[in-house]
Amino acid sequence: MARRTAVVLIVAAAMLLAATGGFAQDEEFVFGMVLVGPRNDHGWSEAHYTAGQYVEQQVPGARMVFFESLNPADAPETTLEQVVEEMLAEGAKVIFTTSDEFEEDTLFVAQKYPDTIFINVSGDDALTGEAPANLSNIMGNMELGKQIAGCAAALATETGKLGYLGPLINFETRRLAASVYLGARYCYEHYRGGNPDDLSMTVTWIGFWFNIPGVTLDPTEETQRFFDGGADVVISGIDTTEALVVAGQRAAEGAKVWAIPYDYEGACAGAPAVCLGVPYFNWGPAYVQVVEAVKNGTYEQFWHWNPPYFEDISDNDKTAVGWVNGDALTEEQAAQLDEFIAMLAETDPGVLTADNIDDEGKQIGLWVGPLALQDGTVLAEEGEIVPPRSVWYLEQLLQGMTGDSSAQ
C-alpha cells in the first residue's frame, strides 16, 4: 500500500514537473504584478490581476508573475524590495506595483534597479518629477466613473439621503467622494426635478482600504448605520463589497435600498438585485500598452490619468474606467444615465499627462463652478473650470457634503 502511494506520488510529481517545463518559450516576456490585497477580492486587487491576465492574452509570450497581499499584516516576512528581487530573478522586465501604499518603496527600488521599468499605480512621482526615468505612473480617471455612480444613486434614491463608505482620507479618496456628490446633485436636479440642496450625502471614513477587525470601523456596521439613518443608497469607496452585501440583506427583509460597489467589473454579482451598477477600473489596455512599449524598446517615462472610452464605456479593450448598469436600474433610469454619460463625453479631457494637465480647457465632467470647499473657500467661480491638477490635489470635501475632510 505504502509502495503504491509512493509510486503515485512520484509519477504525479514527474508529470507536474513536465507540465511546468512545457511553458518555457523562446520569446517569453515576463512582467511582475504586485498586489496589496488578495487576487480574488472582487475589488481593487482583482481588477489588477485580471488586467495581468488580459496582458497575457493580448501580448504574445507575455507571462505574469504576481505576488498577492503584500502588506505588513499579511506578509510580515517580506518587503517590496524582496518581492521585486524575486521577480527579477524570474526575469521580469516591467513590474506593476498596484497601490499607493507602494509609492515610497517603488521609488526606492526604481532607483536601485534602473534597468527595470516600474509602474506605480495611482502615484504622482512622475508628475512631481521625483521619479527616475524608469518609474512611471498610471491612474484611471475614476472621477468620471464616480460622477456616473453619483448620478445613478440620485436617480434611485427616494429619501434623498446617500451614504458614502470611504477608506482613509487622502487626496484621492477626497476627490472621488466629491465626484460622487457632483454627479448626484446634477442628476437629482435635472432628472428628478429636485432641489440639489435637499440631497444629502454623508461620508464615513472607516480608516483603511478594507476591514481590519478592531482597528478600522466595521464597514458592515457602518452600512447598517447609513440605512438606519434613513439613507437608501450606499456608495462604496473601499476595496471590498460590504455595502452591497448589507443592502442585499436589507432588501431581502423588504427594505427599498440599493448599493453601488467599486473597483471591479464583476462586483455586482454579490447581490445583483440591489446593485445600481458599478464604476470599475479596467487596467488591461493601459498595461498592454506599457508591456508592448517595454518589449519593443519604445518605453518613455509617463504619468497617465486615463479617461473612460466614451463611445462605449464598457468596451474592455479600450476603456480605462468603465461602468456597467446594475439589475436594480429601471429602463427609464438607464436611459437617463446614458444621457448623462453622453453629456460627460462632451467635455472628455482625454488622457491627462504631466505635459497637458495644466492646459486651458481641460475639464473633468462636472468639476465646474460655482464650487466651494467645505470650509467655504471658493474653489471655482460661476462657470469657471476647476483645473485637473486642483482636482487631483483636492484639499477638502466640497461644501454641502457631510463628513470629515481630514483625520482628526
Partner: protein, 370 residues
Amino acid sequence: MTRSSLLGQRALALGIGMASIAVSLLLTALIILAVGASPLEVFNKVTEGIGLTPTGLDMVRFSGVVNFWIPLMFVCTGLLVTFTAGLWNIGVEGQMMFGAVCATWVAQEVFLPTVVQVPLEMLAAALGGAFWAALTGLLKTRGGVHEIFGGVAMNNLANIFSIYLISGPWGNQGGQATPPFRQETLLLPMSSEFRVSAVALILMAVVFGGIFLALSGTRWGLELKAQGHSQRSALLLGVPVERNVLLAMALCGFMAGLAGSVRVLFTYGNLRPLVSGGIGFLGLLVVLLTGTRALWAPPIAFFFAAILGGSTRLKIALQLDQSLAGVVQGILVLMVILANGVRGRLRGRHPAQAPEPSASLEAEEAAIHG
C-alpha cells in the same frame, strides 16, 4: 528516575519528534499535490528562497530570513519571560507597534550623530514597549483585568494610534506611511550582499543570552517559574508576585519594543500601519511550542522564519495560493502539539497537577489574528 530510563525517554522523545516531522512532511506533500503542484518543486523553491542553492548560499535571500528572525527572536525572548511567569502576553503586538511609534518619534524629531541617534531610537522603542506592557500589567494587578483582554485592548489602541499618526500629524500628504527616515537614523546592513544589521543581530544574541541566564540562574528566574506554576503558592513562599508580574510584563514589552524598532529602522525605513505584522503572535506560537526550554526558541523561530521567508520565492515562482505557507506552518504546529501529547501519554500516567497554558490559547490567538 534511573539513568537508563532517562536515556530511554530521550530516545523516545527523539523518535516521536522524527515521526511527527515525517508525518507533517507527508501531509504537506499531499496538500501540495491536491492543489496541483509538485512537492519536490515546492521544496526546491522554498530552499532556494532561503538562499540554499546548488551553487552555494545566496546571501541576499538568506539575509531575508535572518531579518525576519531577528525581530521574531526579540519577541520570543520577551515572551519566554512572561511565559515562565505564567502570563499570556497577547499584547505583545501592541507593544511592538508602540515601540515602533517611539522609535519613529526620535527618528523624526531628534538630530544627533548616528552613533548616538540609533541607540537612542532603540532605547526609546524599548522603553515605549515596556511602558505599554506595564499598563497591561497594571490593569491586571490593580484592575483585575486578565492580561489577555487587557492585551487585546492595548493592541487595538496602539494600532489606532499609529494609523492616526500616519494619516494625520506624521502623514506624508495622504500617503499610507510616514516619509522615509533619514539615512543616519537607520540601522544599516553589513554589506550589500548580507543585508543584515550587525547591531540588531548582536543585540538580539546578547539579550537572548542575558534572559536565558536570568531565567535559569537567578533567584528572580526561579521566582517567576514558581509563580508561573502556582501564583498562590509562590505568594505564600514569600515571592513578591505582583511586582514580578509588572517586571515580567515590562521586560517583555522592552523586547517587543526592540523588535518594533528593528521593523521601522531596518525592514521598512519608515512607520506604516500594522508594522508588527503578526510577529508577536508568531512569537507566542514559538514559545508555546518550546515551553520553558528556552534554548529551543532560536532554532524553532529560525525554522518559522525560513518557511515564511522561503515562501516568498515559492509564491512568485510557482504562483501557488498564498495561504499554502500558513497551511504548512499549521500542520507542523499541530504535529508538535500532537507529539507532545503522545509523549506525555507514553511516559506514564501522572495526573497533570499544574496544566501548562493549553492549546485553547491558540484558538484565542487565531480569533484575534484572523
